[in-house]
């Protein structure tokens, strides 16, 4: 599903002429197979979020190649990557990233609108997902009127709405209490089991990492020796 090959990345800090190079990732290579849940763990500042952003296409690597579904996404233009994300990748963010002026229903519906789906289909799909994540009664609520757990469920429903083959989750339970965390992890496991969706989860929480079939540990921008744990 995902092949990360010798990826390196650095940030350039400071003004022109006085730039400082800050290396973040160094020669990372790993693979995620279809239907796997892979957790990427590491301490704060280890570069795990940068790695996820590189796979998402939000930033471009300084070196190396990333393939998703056999396509070299690192060669994609911004527009092509946007279309690719819409059609193949779902996202779950730590801070949910819901649009505050839209209701739960509208937030879930958004990817369908972007894809140009007609209103009848949209309603059918969104209602089914609302039911799946247990938010039917909250569909007209705005994010500010929902709890953290409910917001994350809206976010999961939005990630699922176009039935992607891959979901990238960045600290999906980072803003949740332990009870809600368990709930969200259960949903992830169920989705993986029932729909065969591949998950790549970034976390610093060992509890969360344990739901993965494999764990990849990153330390100071590099894969730890023997970092891939079955």
């Amino acid at each position: 599903m995902i092949t990360v090959k010798q990826i390196s990345h650095h940030f350039e800090l400071g003004k022109k002429g006085q730039k400082t190079i800050l290396p973040v990732l160094n020669d990372i290579t790993f693979q995620v197979d279809k239907g796997e849940i892979v957790s990427i763990v590491g301490k704060s500042g280890s570069g795990k979020s940068t790695l996820l952003n590189l796979i998402s296409g939000f930033i471009r690597p300084t070196k190396g190649e990333i393939r998703i579904k056999e396509e070299v996404v690192t060669d994609f233009s911004e527009a092509k990557f946007a279309d690719f994300r819409l059609n193949h990748i779902g996202f779950i963010f730590q801070s949910f990233q819901l649009i505050p002026s839209m209701t739960a229903y509208q937030n879930i519906e958004l990817p369908l609108i972007l894809k140009g789906e007609n209103e009848t289909n949209r309603k059918q799909i969104v209602d089914r997902l609302l039911d799946k994540v247990g938010l039917v009664d909250f569909k007209d609520h705005y994010p500010s009127e929902l709890s953290g757990g409910q917001q994350q469920r809206v976010s999961i429903a939005r990630a699922l709405v176009l039935e992607p083959a891959l979901i990238l989750a960045d600290e999906p339970t980072g803003s949740l209490d332990s009870e809600t965390e368990t709930e969200v992890l259960e949903i992830i496991k169920t989705l993986n089991k029932e729909l065969g969706i591949t998950f790549l989860i970034i976390t610093h929480d060992e509890e969360v990492a344990r739901i993965g079939h494999r764990t990849i540990t990153i330390k100071d921008g590099s894969l730890m020796e023997g970092g891939v744990v079955q």
């Binding site: 939000f58 819409l86 990748i89």
Partner: protein
Amino acid sequence: MKLKDQYRFIRQNIKKNRARTFMTILATAMGCAFLIVLASVGYGLQQSIVKETMEQQIVTQIDVYGKEKGNNYEALTMEDIEQLEKVENVKAVTRKNQLRQMPTYTIDNYIAGTMAVSTYFPSEVKAGLELSEGRLPENPNEVVVGYQFANELKLDTEENVYDEETGEVKEEFRYSGNLVGKTITMTVQKDMESDEIREIPLTVVGILEEPTKEWMSDLNVYISQDVFEQVEAYTGTPGGEIGIDPDTLESNQVESFDEVQVYAENLEAVQGIVDELGDNNYATYSVVSEMKEINTLFTIAKAGLILVGTIALIIASIGIYNTMTMAVTERAPDIGIMKAIGANPKTIKKIFLLESSYIGIIGAIIGTIVAYLTSMLVNIGLPLILEMAFNDEMPEGLKFSAIPWSLVVIAVGICLVVTILSGMRPAKRATQIDVLKAMRREI
């Protein structure tokens, strides 16, 4: 993303900042209204002047003044008339010769002094001449008279027969009988020095139609070519002119016409005929040529006015640019989320361009309505104000402002172009928003 959904997005976004959007729409509407009203003055005055000119003249009529020969213009002869009649799309060529002295006409105890004109009636009839009464002359001593000729016949008395206010002959001194079938006596002078006169009896067989224009009056007596020639023979001068010595005149003078008019089959044919006559060295004047000049002048004026009006819209566009820039900044986190989940930069750009166009369209609609109302008020109010200020009556039907559909289309088009252009840069900025920064609320 479907257009309908984009439109829904825009409505949602606009709702969030109603006051700001309203003010921007208002500025656009004012700019658009200003443009339309300003240009409408050009359109209104053009319409009034064209209407006035058209009303004063027959639009298919072309006056032919003479033919250029060397550096001079020569009067038209029968040979020219024949040539003019051969021109394509010419319906009729009328020719008149006016007696170059003013004869007097008497009937019973009434007298009038008006011009005598010799004309060729078959051509006049073809050109549209109509009688209000009687028939056309068939014999040399038969004449038709102008519609107002009878009003000129006044009682031959020492009393003051004219009304001091109107300058017309008082009712009681006017000839009140029907002239058709009556004989009037035309008296012409031989020369200035002697009192020698000749009286020619003429039978009135018809009265011409009343001139279509209120301010026009036709007092002429239309005599035959035969009578005209009799007078010429009597005075020994061309046109019966008195005050010149017949002996000094050249003997080889060719018969020519004072007034020649060409009538086109229709309005569209006029310009073609004018051009052809011009090519053949004829000096012409037609209302269509005049219209062409008027229209050229007004087209330049209108373009200038539209340009000035566009400046108002450009000023309004600064407001749109500001509003759209604010909107992009405010919505940066939302744009970031949308881009993250897969919104194409083109879609983002389209949404913002559509939003600025929406402001432009609503502004243009309101502006057009305001412009129509203003134009109506100007047309009603301005003549009243001017009449009060200058104590002078404005011409009837004078329009200061007119808004044709073409002007509305031009104004709305300019408005849309300006608003879309002003939304371009903010829209482009929206597509360049960094997803990570936007999601971290760093923009």
